[in-house]
């Protein structure tokens, strides 16, 4: 397949870098200001070097991407809330041109799911978005294999930053601010970690899961969300007295979405440590399935994007 990649952050760049390994060509790579476009395949390494070196990705305009003969638009621009723009318009333009879209951007799938599905229904192309939930972990494809109707709930840890902070607080008996500063030094937490620690990032993923289970009907505003900022180190100490620990756990069912700090058994499956993520898929006929792995990172998330590309039918 010929890929046009919008967004040249960690994920977009990694998709470009790994595409050839998965048997695909990159015909366009764009960030918000410039683009490298070539219907015969761009020089990926040159474009990546430019981007990393702080130069324009290429000489073309980002608008030119849509005029290229691509098969799949990879939407990897930063997640935005509310109207989920400009990601949503990118998806709309590709679908209206009867192309496939693979999203790594959570915004459109969490906030405007029904509109996306309506556009898809009118298009020869389809949308896939495995990379929006749990990075490298195959979550949506597992649900697809079980069929969404047979899945009763999805629970788990889908934010590595919050999980890292809670793990360190429990292990070292330190308070939230101290561990957050350490996480920022290590590059685990961003300079502005708000969406990671207040539960928004995890909530977006569970909203997407609820949308998949119920075939739409949810947006971020429907989720009940609590963060980890008010958890003192002493609370983790108390939890440990009884063989438990605290994790930022999300739950998605057909009835709604909830994300908040919860007590879980210290040695239980959901108490993953460090930046690791885990999902528990509760099924009607097959009990619970657990998948754990890296929930973020450029190459990790890119593998989810490229697996999606591989599942698309040819146009």
């Amino acid at each position: 397949m010929d890929l046009a990649i919008l967004g040249a952050g960690d994920v977009g760049r990694s998709v470009a870098d790994l595409a050839a390994e998965y048997g695909h060509d990159v015909v366009a790579l764009a960030d918000s200001t410039s683009a490298a476009v070539d219907p015969n395949g761009i020089a990926v390494q040159d474009a990546l070097e430019h981007k990393v070196g702080g130069e324009p990705v290429g000489t073309a305009d980002p608008e030119d991407v849509f005029d290229t003969g691509y098969d799949v638009l990879v939407e990897a621009t930063p997640t935005t809330l509310g109207d989920a723009e400009p990601g949503f318009s990118h998806v709309r333009r590709a679908l209206e041109a009867d192309r496939h879209v693979v999203l790594a951007n959570k915004g459109p799938v969490a906030e405007r799911y029904e509109e996306l599905r309506a556009l898809e229904a009118e298009s020869a192309g389809s949308i896939r978005f495995e990379a929006t939930v749990g990075g490298a972990i195959p979550v949506l494809s597992t649900i697809e294999d079980c069929t969404p109707q047979a899945v009763t709930a999805v629970r788990g840890v889908l934010n590595g930053t919050a999980n890292f902070i809670l793990t360190r607080m429990a292990a070292e008996g330190l308070d939230y601010e101290h561990v957050l500063a350490e996480a920022q030094d290590l590059g685990v937490a961003e300079a502005d970690p708000t969406f990671d620690v207040d539960g928004t990032d995890a909530a977006l993923k569970f909203v997407i899961l609820a949308n998949v289970l119920a075939d739409g009907g949810f947006a971020l505003e429907d989720a009940t969300v609590e963060g980890i900022q008010s958890i003192p180190g002493s609370a983790l100490g108390l939890a440990a007295e009884d063989g438990r620990t605290i994790r930022l756990i999300g739950e998605a069912t057909r009835d709604g979405i909830r994300v908040g700090p919860r007590l879980v058994p210290e040695n239980g499956a959901l108490a993953v440590t460090g930046t690791r993520n885990i999902v528990q898929i509760e099924t009607r006929n097959a009990g619970s399935l657990h998948s754990s792995g890296r929930g973020a990172g450029g190459p990790e998330t890119a593998t989810a994007v490229l697996s999606d590309v591989g599942r698309l039918p040819s146009l």
Binding site: S234, L238, D242, R262
Partner: protein
């Protein structure tokens, strides 16, 4: 109590002969001389026949109490009276029979626990959420005036965990406390 028989989990809890049934009552006793004898008196006084006592001396609860498991038999209509008499005598009954307090949950409360009257918070949990506070552990590393955490282990009736948690959540909202709930449901 070295020769007391170990409680047998497989023992049928129904005794057909004469309409007498066997029950297990779980108590927590203060570690003081005479406490065990005092706890057993209401059983015999109310028509219960003592079958066995399992006194877990080595297994002290974080509150410093000693768990004791007592197997008794009595006619079913006398059982509630025995449990009531135990409670009237000030004995801490954790579990009585099969259907009572079959589940245990932990919650952590975070906030200005002392300022918001921790004792009242716990009473409200017992009254409004219909749970028994079995154990409480408090951590206030910055003093009782600052934000503190408390872990409460609660005995709740089987199948009532979700209702109890919902009630505790609303008590937490009232008192501006963060409630960290257990994850109920699924194989955590």
């Amino acid at each position: 109590m070295g020769d007391a028989p170990e409680p047998d989990d497989d023992k049928p809890d129904a005794e057909a002969d004469g309409g007498v049934r066997a029950y297990t009552v779980r108590l927590e006793l203060v570690d003081e001389p005479g406490e065990l004898l005092r706890a057993l008196a209401p059983i015999a006084d109310n028509g219960g026949n003592l079958l066995s006592i399992h006194h877990e001396r080595g297994n002290i609860t974080p509150r410093g109490h000693i768990p004791v498991e007592v197997d008794i038999e009595c006619p079913p209509d006398r059982f509630d009276g025995i449990v009531e008499a135990l409670r009237d005598a000030g004995v801490n009954v954790i579990q009585a029979g099969e259907e009572h307090y079959g589940e245990e949950i932990n919650v952590i409360l975070i906030g200005h626990l002392v300022e918001t009257d921790l004792s009242n918070t716990l009473s409200r949990i017992e009254d409004e959420a219909n749970a028994v506070v079995q154990d409480l552990s408090l951590a206030a590393p910055d003093g009782t005036e600052a934000v503190a955490s408390a872990r409460a282990r609660l005995a709740v009736n089987s199948g009532r965990s979700t209702a109890v948690i919902t009630a505790i959540r609303s008590i937490g909202t009232d008192k501006d406390l963060t409630v960290v709930e257990p994850l109920v449901g699924g194989e955590a």
